[in-house]
């Protein structure tokens, strides 16, 4: 049975890796970020440097990180870098709220699991709305599990396609790592969109 499971996992794993690679390096994110940095080179060189440093860090993890698992703390750090770039792009249109529980930081996750979730939140909750939106990242420990919740407000614009693929990919990778012990819930409400995942500590 174990052999059978391993056989089944291998192709699923490589397919998931490919999909995950495509979902986390959206070409337009790279180009928009470079454009942002170029705008800042003259007006605010220090901020331009910061944007490029954040971008380099993101791509180091996306392209050059071969580890199977990382900690929630590392994932949060990377999401913060990603959101710092988007904050520079969108200014006051992107409103961020972090509520982080230090007790949850040691939880183990597949690498770059959180980044596609926050990217989706910005893409669907902030970009389509002229007044922007709110992205909330919340972690907590409950019933021996670390819970991570990403919520975005949804404005007038309907959700565009693309949400499903990234979420499916996150769900698969989470279950590949933690099997049935992992929890993954998506809740779409009229005013907000929420993804919550739980992993054993």
């Amino acid at each position: 049975w174990l052999q059978m499971r391993a056989d089944k996992l291998a192709p699923a794993q490589s397919a998931a890796r490919l999909a995950e690679l495509q979902s986390r390096i959206r070409p337009h994110f790279l180009f928009n970020t470079l454009n942002t940095a170029l705008s800042l080179v003259r007006a605010d060189p220090v901020r331009a440097e910061r944007v490029l440093e954040d971008l380099a860090e993101l791509f180091r993890h996306a392209l050059d990180d071969v580890r199977e698992t990382v900690t929630l703390a590392e994932e949060i750090d990377l999401a913060q870098r990603y959101l710092a770039i988007e904050q520079t792009r969108f200014g006051t249109r992107l409103r961020l709220s972090w509520q982080l529980d230090p007790a949850a930081t040691a939880a183990r996750l597949p690498p770059l699991l959180l980044q596609p979730l926050v990217e989706n939140a910005v893409r669907h909750g902030v970009e389509p709305n002229a007044d922007g939106g709110t992205v909330r990242i919340h972690t907590e420990v409950r019933m021996g599990m670390a819970w991570l919740t990403v919520t975005n407000s949804t404005g007038a614009a309907a959700s565009t396609p693309g949400h499903g693929m990234a979420l499916q990919n996150v769900r698969e990778r989470l279950h590949l790592m933690h099997d049935v012990a992992a929890r993954f819930e998506v809740r779409s409400q009229p005013q907000q969109f929420r993804v919550r995942l739980g992993v054993p500590l």
């Binding site: 928009n32 454009n35 705008s39 800042l40 792009r89 002229a130 614009a157």
Partner: protein, 260 residues
């Protein structure tokens, strides 16, 4: 007032929801001397781009992002294509996949972000060529000279909402200020051309600034008693100007032409 060297510069409207993307484009446009250009407006979505286009008398080029909040940039291109003398449209986007659609919409060019200076220059040259081939020409001096307590200042014609003859002088109203001009209303009317409409013996209004026509109780001339009269509302300052009986039909027609 005299003709200005900037009269041949391309008049550009920037449409992008990211302030930094607009800033970058301003830098690139300022660096490009041949052809020279001036940014006459900036908009973050399709609705505000249309509002600005209605206010600006001449726009040669719209540099248009595709991914905008609300309606996307291609919708603005569709809308512009219906105009009599549409400005040239050049798409500027991080997404290469919109290119085909852009050409179907008769966009003059398609630039991918980050835009290179040389690539932008080539695109601007296309606009100049097209303008030379009978496209919209901005031969009119785009500036007005105003005096403010002895200080001389230049105001773009495109900022003018209306001109009003007072007792001894003409005032120019822009969205933010009132200025004093030393040119007569009839000279202005002749020089500024069809972008402005005479609503009364004492007032000349930018067609794009016309919002509403209705009967109101107003004072037509200083010193007269208030009376009910036709009046026109001017945006974005939301001021009302008296319309003379003779001009009511022309104002109504102008509003209808604007799609009111």
């Amino acid at each position: 007032m005299s003709a200005d060297a900037g009269g041949s510069a391309l008049r550009v409207l920037l449409v992008d929801d990211e302030a930094l993307a607009c800033l970058r484009m301003r830098h690139l446009l300022a660096d490009c001397l041949d052809p020279a250009s001036i940014v006459v407006g900036e908009a973050g979505d399709v609705a505000s781009a249309l509002a600005q286009l209605a206010l600006l008398t001449t726009v040669d080029l719209v540099l248009l992002d595709v991914a905008l909040p609300g309606l996307d940039g291609t919708r603005l291109a569709v809308e512009l294509a219906r105009h009599d003398h549409p400005p040239a449209v050049i798409f500027v986007t991080a997404h290469a996949q919109h290119a085909v659609e852009a050409f179907e919409l008769n966009a003059l060019d398609y630039l991918t972000k980050p835009v290179r200076a040389e690539r932008l220059q080539a695109a601007l040259r296309k606009v100049v060529q097209r303008r030379g081939a009978g496209g919209p020409v901005s031969s009119e001096p785009p500036m007005l000279r105003v005096s403010d307590r002895g200080r001389i200042q230049r105001v773009p014609v495109s900022d003018a909402l209306y001109f009003k003859a007072e007792l001894k002088y003409v005032t120019l109203r822009t969205a933010r200020h009132s200025h004093v001009l030393d040119e007569s209303l009839s000279d202005l009317e002749q020089r500024l051309g069809p972008g402005f409409i005479r609503v009364h013996r004492n007032a000349l209004v930018a067609r794009g600034a016309l919002r509403a026509l209705e009967r109101r109780v107003m004072t037509a001339e200083a010193g007269e008693a208030p009376a009910e009269t036709w009046a026109v509302q001017v945006a974005p300052v939301d001021e009302w100007l008296v319309v003379s009986r003779r001009q009511v039909a022309a104002v109504r027609q102008a509003l209808e032409a604007l799609g009111a």
